[in-house]
Symmetry: C2
Subunit: 394 residues, 2 copies
Amino acid sequence: MRFSEEYYADQMKGINGSVIRDIFKLLGDPGMISFAGGNPSNNALEPEVVRCLVCEAIDRYGTNALQYGGTEGLPGLRKGIADYLSSTAGVRCTADNILPVQGSSQAFDLLLKALINPGDVILVESPTFLGAIQAMRIYKAQLVAMPMDEGGVIIEEVEKLVQKHHPKMMYIIPTFQNPTGRTLLLERRKALAEMAAKYGFVIAEDDPYRDLRYTGEALPSISSFDEEGWVVYMSSFSKYIAPGLRVGAAAVPHAGLLRKMVIGKQSSDVHSPILTQAIVELYLEKGLLPGHLDRICGEYRAQMEAMLEGFACFPEGTKHTVPQGGLFVWAELPEGMNATDALNRAVAQNVAFVPGTHFYPEGGHENTLRLNFSMQTLERIREGMERLGRAIKG
Amino acid sequence: MRFSEEYYADQMKGINGSVIRDIFKLLGDPGMISFAGGNPSNNALEPEVVRCLVCEAIDRYGTNALQYGGTEGLPGLRKGIADYLSSTAGVRCTADNILPVQGSSQAFDLLLKALINPGDVILVESPTFLGAIQAMRIYKAQLVAMPMDEGGVIIEEVEKLVQKHHPKMMYIIPTFQNPTGRTLLLERRKALAEMAAKYGFVIAEDDPYRDLRYTGEALPSISSFDEEGWVVYMSSFSKYIAPGLRVGAAAVPHAGLLRKMVIGKQSSDVHSPILTQAIVELYLEKGLLPGHLDRICGEYRAQMEAMLEGFACFPEGTKHTVPQGGLFVWAELPEGMNATDALNRAVAQNVAFVPGTHFYPEGGHENTLRLNFSMQTLERIREGMERLGRAIKG
């Protein structure tokens, strides 16, 4: 008898991987001007700094850098992250609330594992992050889409959905959202925290872009308004320092819930590598982050502006977001135009992006697209937007 | 309303973390002679080698060492692991079958995610690895214990259990098993591979100790006898190079199953850190492993012999295994003695171990204990076994 597909678990049967995987493969072609990914710029990465920090980490930890470590992570890293999140985002936490993990994706996976039974309702922005949609589907959650406007999810509509669906969780990216680049308004942040406590649901606040702000004032996190322990704040150093290190964190207000996430992590990968944790611990401890963010935000801002100017090449009637930070701009072509068709024509002209339909849990919205600007030079952004404008016009 | 425990998902409600966590905390006390852990010796770790390899990895990969990478892992690492596992253990694989992961624990977690529905039966050795028991319980598998003798699981008994329970999977540690130190006989390895194909169940072959052999001849893996693609072989560099790097691998014969595991990993941590993967890639590529294993096996062998001699201090009628490798010795005290009571007396004398009952999915076996020798000097092993003998005698 041979192994066959009928052996797959139910939770994985309908899950076939990122639908934009094939688009991402285009990234590998140097001739392609790709607006499809979400990687930080290679200019934002600092191999020589990391080399020095690894050496220092080995000096600091010696053989402990290579031994088994605690699932809860390095104490110094937990403290560094707690200080960072509380001072910059107003997250209510001390080191004891912090679980360092492998990117904020793992924080969300562990939170789902700790809380979600099949059929539980999770409210999500519509559109939202593809990776999160897949993660929630593996736990067989039922996704309910929250309507949005330029200021993020619309509170009155959200409350109606809460009353109707009794969600166990809300998944939300409040700052420079992926894919739209939108930022949730201050008063809505407060309202969501209060709504969670009123009705009793957990808010998974995914905030990995927050400190990539190019204009406007920083807003406090939803977590900062959380009086009753309902908001789990998820952060990541992938966009701030380096994604290849795979260091992120959850700030979990409830000790019992943190413990369940620790057990989930113990059972899946025991602990995160010591060296990568120590690199971020030292990066924070030495105060390298603010200066680094200043530098990369200046570069990203120029890239975003070049992209925004490039919309002049797009068909009349195209709408697009004007984000205050992050890595993405979202566009809506005139009604009736199809971004997937446009992608085929664009690829023939060596430019790529992600059709927006993939970010909607319910599909549709064929006239939308997501554009990333962080991986291309100013010149290539201008050239790419011109080509893309032509391709969309057909 | 405040967050409360009733929100936990069903799969996590009964899961309270490693029951031996409190015992492991004793490891931190330098006065304690601990036989409780399973860590490699600090002498076996090479911070200076790792320092050089990280620098070389940064030279090789530049900014790619810090960028997002593929979920499938570094191509050079996949090839290095495939060559290593096929040449040393006869595992049937090429680079395309290899999924580098965060220790073999993550390989098993992803395999469970890909295959196990609640209630599915998994056959397990009895006793078996605690971490695996917890992982299987989170997926709500039904564990069925396979009887063992000195040569591992007893084939005739296993076949009866297969016919009765129609398992979806078997979890087995064939070489220097944790906790017993036993090694599955050659003909039984072949028989299990044939049984899996005859009845149609997946064998999760967990083999992280295999190359820590001190005496006797290496045996081919169960995977080496797998003609039909039923054996997923799981390996780890935690015991060979360094656990803090969190690099292990699954060798998965069926491409569709490997893809499901990749999707599971994508959804939980996107990919493993590039630097830790690159360290192991270079370690294998430079051929450092055979010489390193020779050195550490010589030291471990001496430690194991010191421990085995120490059983002279134990009560008459104590039985113990005489492993050919690995990190553990297993002992059975005379009927009626209780290892948990003995642990309390032992800790008062500054020596610790793990009572064997924790390794049995069904509990019981109160007169058994697991002893680890890798973390103590010869002198401390001798001293510890003397104290332990006294404590057991009461």
